[in-house]
Symmetry: none
Subunit: 210 residues, 4 copies
């Protein structure tokens, strides 16, 4: 997920953003903000354009259509996250620590960009067949990281060998993911990452041999 959110993404933009150049990222940020606020289907391309401070038509110079904006936003954020995550996890030998670190990064990434978090938690689960497939593939990629760690932990004897590795990985992702959802839906805006250790404790407790 993008480390920083461009400043105009939250404002009306039409004013501040004009002339900053770099329309592509501005449109992307605006789109994430609008999708977060209204949801994909209720978001109008005109909303995105005006928030980005560009003309409606300009959006189509950078993106084929509305769906592609959403997908690009998700892809960009997801790929950035995965690159970061793979790099970091690579340096950690303990499978348990790796999962703890992954939970941490996951919550940090989304906790630092609420709009993006909303889009991930809400809009990613659309049922356009295409989008479903699309997000499914991301999920698989993410889960691969988790399953690797679990498998390795089982081989090393620190994770319970009888656990179905696939299901365990789903539990890990599901738990972390639900923490994000819960945060997104909450009224108060507590720091999401602060929950990382607590989640990791529960899940790792469930994975580790007694």
């Amino acid at each position: 997920m993008p480390k920083r959110e461009s400043p105009e993404a939250e404002g009306t933009a039409t004013t501040a953003a004009r002339g900053t150049g770099e329309k592509y990222p501005r449109i992307l940020d605006a789109a994430v903000a609008v999708f977060a606020e209204k949801g994909f289907h209720l978001a109008r391309v005109a909303d995105i354009a005006s928030r980005a401070g560009v003309a409606d038509g300009t959006v189509y110079l950078y993106f084929k259509n509305k769906e592609e904006i959403l997908m690009t936003a998700i892809n960009t954020a997801f790929n950035a996250f995965m690159t970061d995550a793979r790099a970091e996890l690579h340096q950690i030998s303990s499978p348990a620590e790796r999962l703890r670190r992954l939970a941490n990064m996951h919550l940090h990434a989304l906790g630092s960009n609420r709009n993006l978090a909303v889009v991930f938690q809400m809009e990613l689960r659309q049922s356009t067949r295409f989008l479903t497939t699309f997000s499914h593939e991301h999920m698989v990629e993410y889960l691969e990281l988790v399953r690797d760690a679990i498998r390795e932990g089982q081989q090393k004897g620190i994770f319970r060998p009888e656990l179905n590795e696939k299901i365990a990985a789903n539990c890990f992702f599901g738990a972390v993911d639900e923490i994000v959802t819960s945060w997104v839906l909450a009224e108060e805006d507590y720091p999401l990452a602060s929950a990382a250790d607590a989640v990791a404790n529960v899940i790792l407790g469930g994975l580790e041999t007694k």
Copy 2:
């Protein structure tokens, strides 16, 4: 979740369903099927009507609008589930067993009605403000069951006392929920409930004192 799904909900219905009477449940079932297939926004009321074997206008004799159909479907299913769940859990004294049973019921309920499961996993997480609030309330109700069990388990000393009860409950729900999502997105149609014990093992392992 509805005790029985009328058989025509899966088929084209337009033919077979005609004149079977009781249009209300037929429309509801058709709606769930169409929502599952296309998603709420892409589902046309005409699709629902034709699948239910009724005229477009007939839908509006039973429901105020499209949104009300979705909400009714979700409410009906959710309330039926909660009633069942409360009744069953009431008879189980062990908190761990209660959670195990809840996971089981959860997966059974959705595993026996794929369309409904798709609607719950996908459409419930839309971002219409109203729907968000609406589903949030259901979530809270469900989580109350989980939190009660966790709290009691902590008091009895069988669950780790240092765990944040709210986060732990989220982990439980998140894990079970993700198993459903995974099943919904999966190519093959394995019996969902078969995963119940495995999930429960992971989470209970994480909750129980060593």
Copy 3:
């Protein structure tokens, strides 16, 4: 115009009207009330039926369609008025007195039934070609009465001979008609007929030789 308005026409009817029998006039009265309130196009047949205390379908046992209800209401009232008017005017030999009496009857008829007045002033001027023709014919009939009086007055030398009789008749009708419109649109509910003499004075003043 009908001498009396059936009592249920103003109320919700569904209660009081039931079982009184005589559904035909009840539907007619209800229709006039609903047309007056919402206008022809915005009036729903269901509104009329419920106000008349009958089922929607029952309306169609008495009237071919919505338009026929309006036409029947107008026709009935208009014919009743014309019959009365012809009978009364027949007994008055002075053309001036005849016009004075006609203005009086006109304002009395509509002033005693506001709903009907609204329908006459507003709905009669629709532009469905059919309805236009239809109301045009009524107008001609009414104007005939006026023109007869004017013609006779001119022959007798009490009305200015140079006046175009057709235009003068239009002036008479227009003046009286406008008094009704003004009353219909007014906030306060003054007795319409009280204006009869004043209007007659103006117009007769314009007609009479000096």
Copy 4:
């Protein structure tokens, strides 16, 4: 009433009008033509658009909705007329002459644009509460001109002092208005303004002291 009516307003336009530019007045003219022909409720926005030679959606770039088109058409025409009328009447000191001139302008304005006249005579008297209020206000404004003249004439002793000024003004307007209605409903298309003197003669005859 609009100073000039774009020529295509009367024709089918779909062909000739394309690309003539200035879509706003074209839509307005087309709307008046369609409203005149079918009446507001039966007029479809698609009719207006096609007559104006624009796409359906284009209408909504210029007007919020169908009602706004009607109101704009009426307002524009009415305000133009009132501006003209006030300017002209200002220069006439004789109250009688002023009324004669007003009748003349009234009949000229509507007589030179039959579609607009139809809309004024028919559609303006609908019973949408909003429209009623709206047209009522116009009426008041117009009547103010008439009442001013009458009041002044009474003060100067040339109009009968015993006449109720409000009722007299209604008579004036009603008479002129009915001449227009009569013309609108007539089969043959005689020049409307030719009736101006005749009407003025009747009404002024009724107003003036003998």
